[in-house]
Structures are given as structure tokens and as C-alpha cells.
Subunit: 187 residues, 2 copies
DNA sequence: GCCCTATATAGGACACGTCCTATATAAGAC
DNA sequence: GTCTTATATAGGACGTGTCCTATATAGGGC
């Protein structure tokens, strides 16, 4: 569902091909809504049969013809309707916590090793997010207004805030794991 | 994948039926890994053909026969192998941020209304998580050791930390939206 | 009186997302 | 010289998860 509306949203800035949409996705919303190339094309197809987008064919030699998609009036209306509608939050899925949940089964050193790896991964995500900022600014300059950029940066801020919270948590976990007497021994 | 190992994990505490597993899920890991009833049964089935679990039939009248599942030796080994293996973090999917991303298209009051709804939903999740604590303690008393409970509570802590971070973020967003001159007008 | 919940399992249909492959060519990396 | 990247679209196969329904009965709420 969300992918559909993300695509309509980007098309509301102007016509685009599936290929370009994929690139815009990767440099803007990827950190909270990754999109597969294959799925973008399939979704554009579906949006077409629903009458929310149309496209013009531009013939090319030696490459597949480009399909330049644009919003229809119905598409713009549907997008704005969705945008103004409150939605239930997505359910959280954090597989790494399953490992934490059952970690009592492992020896202490093993747990600490895994926790430190997770801390490392979180730090990497922090860097990825920080590296996203310039990409986002770039696209902002090309397709967004200053008002758009305000909200784009809010989503990045959200990612940073959540990742920092995750890092704090795992670091505090590691500290407690290393403090003697904190972690009950296996019976 | 994760569901498979969560089931093996719970069966490592002792035999159980699909029905009981569903209830244990809902009161322990649901907040980071929700599981559908239907899917639990199908997964138990698959784990059976893989040789990781076995079951005994207990006949009942007027109700479907109970299948009491238990871990096989292969299942226990596979679970421990997985538990000690580092995994790549799950990708984040936060559909509500798509709305934020395109919010510039909406009038200011509308955005504030939506943001306040989201803050409210976040506060509700906070309450849900806090209500989970006693349920978790209950199951802890029944099937877990003190060492288990330590980790179970860590996952709950994680949920609380993330939710509080999300709440802080959305509250700061609302504050900024309400501060005049902060939010650029539409061109 | 009817609906919901509890107990217990199971399967069809479907939505959504991922992975891999195909088609075509050219430029640049190593 | 081979491999990767860029350009551009598309489909098969599969994995995972959701929703709804069926079966069977009893008890509690409104």
C-alpha cells in the first residue's frame, strides 16, 4: 500500500520513469521504505490499470523504450485523500530482538560478542543516515521546495533519533553484561 | 525465518501446542515480532518435515485433537547454531514517515492534526508496552529462569526506549510546526 | 436470543516484497 | 580482457505474512 502512495507522491512533483523513481527512492525514502526495482515497475503497472497514472512512450534505440509516467487527475486526488487520512502505525518487526530474548541460552562471552556486533551495525547505520543528508539536499534542490525540504529532513531526523536511541540501548546492555553480578547465571 | 527460530526457542523451554504458542507469543514477543495463528501452525508443520520438531497426538472429544510439539535433538542444535550466529539487521519500514515526507502538500493545520494523532498513537503504544510487563513476568515465573527474565526485560526496555524516542521526535515536530516562521509556506 | 470468547487445528486466497534472470550496448575500472 | 556500472523495462518463482473461513461445543455478556 505505502509504496503505491510513495510513487504517486513522487510523481506529484512531475513525470518520471520507473528507472528514475528507483534512484530517487534510494536517495530519499530508502531508509524508512526500501523499494525493489522489480516492485516499482509492477506497482506502476497496477497504478496504470487503476487509472491513477498514465505514461508516454519515448522510443530509444539499443535500449528499452522509456515510459514516462505522470499523475492523472484521479491519481492526484487519491494521493491527497490518502495524505490527509490518519493511518494505523506499522507493526514493529525486529528480528534481532528474538536473539536477545533467548540469549540466556548462550555463554556470557558469546552474548557480549553478539551485542558488540550489533552496536557496530548500529553505528554503521548512523553513518549511512548521515551520508544520506547530502543526497537528500541534492534531490531537494532539483525537485522540492523549501517547504518540502523541511519535511524531508524531519524523516531523516527521525531515523537518526531512533538509531541513536537504539545505540544507547545496546551500549547500556553491553555495560550491564560486563558488570559482574548483574547477569544471573544459568541454573 | 525469524518466526521459525522463535518457535524453536519457546519449544526449548518444553513441549507445547500451537494454540499455547500463540498465546505465549502474544504476551512476550508480540511487540517486536507479531505472529499470526495461521502462520504458527504452518510453520510448526514445516519444522516437522524438516525434522526440527516432533509431536504427540492427544485425542479430545468435541474439540480437534491436540498436537503437543517438542524439539528434536536436531532442532535444539539448529536453534543454538542460529542463536550464536550474527545476523544482518532487519530493514526499517515505517509507512507513517511517507506521510511526513510528503506533508508539505497539506495545509499547516491539517499537518498538526495528523502529527497530534501520531503522538497519541505513540502514547498508546507506550501504555501497551507497560501493560506487557506483568504478562511477561507471569510467563517468566512459569517457564523462564531468572537469567531468561533478564533478557526478556531487555527486549521490553528496547521497545520502551524506541517508543519514547519516537514520542520525543513527534512532540518536537509538533512544537516546531506550531512555532510561527519555522515552517516555510507553500510557493 | 444473539454475539463473543475460549478451546484447537487447518487450509484457501491473496498481498507484498525479494531474488534472479533476460534484453542491449557502451564506457570505464583493474 | 573481463568485470562492473549505467541505461531501461519486465516477468517467473518464491518467501513471508494476513485474512477469512471451517469444524465443534460451552459459557458469559448485553
Amino acid at each position: 500500500m505505502s509504496l503505491e502512495y510513495a510513487i504517486l507522491g513522487f510523481l506529484s512533483y512531475g513525470p518520471s520513469t520507473g528507472y528514475d523513481l528507483k534512484r530517487v527512492f534510494d536517495s530519499t525514502v530508502r531508509h524508512f521504505w526500501p523499494a525493489d526495482q522489480s516492485q516499482i515497475y509492477r506497482t506502476l503497472n497496477r497504478l496504470g490499470t487503476q487509472g491513477y497514472v498514465g505514461h508516454e512512450l519515448v522510443e530509444q534505440e539499443e535500449k528499452p523504450d522509456r515510459k514516462i509516467y505522470h499523475l492523472t487527475e484521479a491519481g492526484r486526488e487519491e494521493f491527497l485523500r490518502w495524505l490527509a487520512t490518519p493511518h494505523a502505525p506499522d507493526e514493529v518487526r525486529e528480528g534481532s530482538l528474538i536473539q536477545v530474548f533467548f540469549a540466556a541460552r548462550l555463554p556470557n562471552e558469546e552474548i557480549i560478542r553478539l551485542a558488540e556486533l550489533q552496536a557496530e551495525q548500529t553505528r554503521e547505520r548512523l553513518q549511512t543516515l548521515e551520508a544520506l543528508k547530502p543526497l537528500l539536499e541534492e534531490h531537494a534542490a532539483q525537485i522540492g521546495t523549501r517547504r518540502d525540504v523541511f519535511f524531508w529532513e524531519l524523516t531523516l531526523e527521525h531515523g537518526l533519533a531512533m538509531t541513536r536511541a537504539g545505540l544507547k540501548w545496546i551500549e547500556s546492555v553491553i555495560r550491564r553484561l560486563k558488570t559482574p553480578g548483574n547477569l544471573p547465571e544459568a541454573d
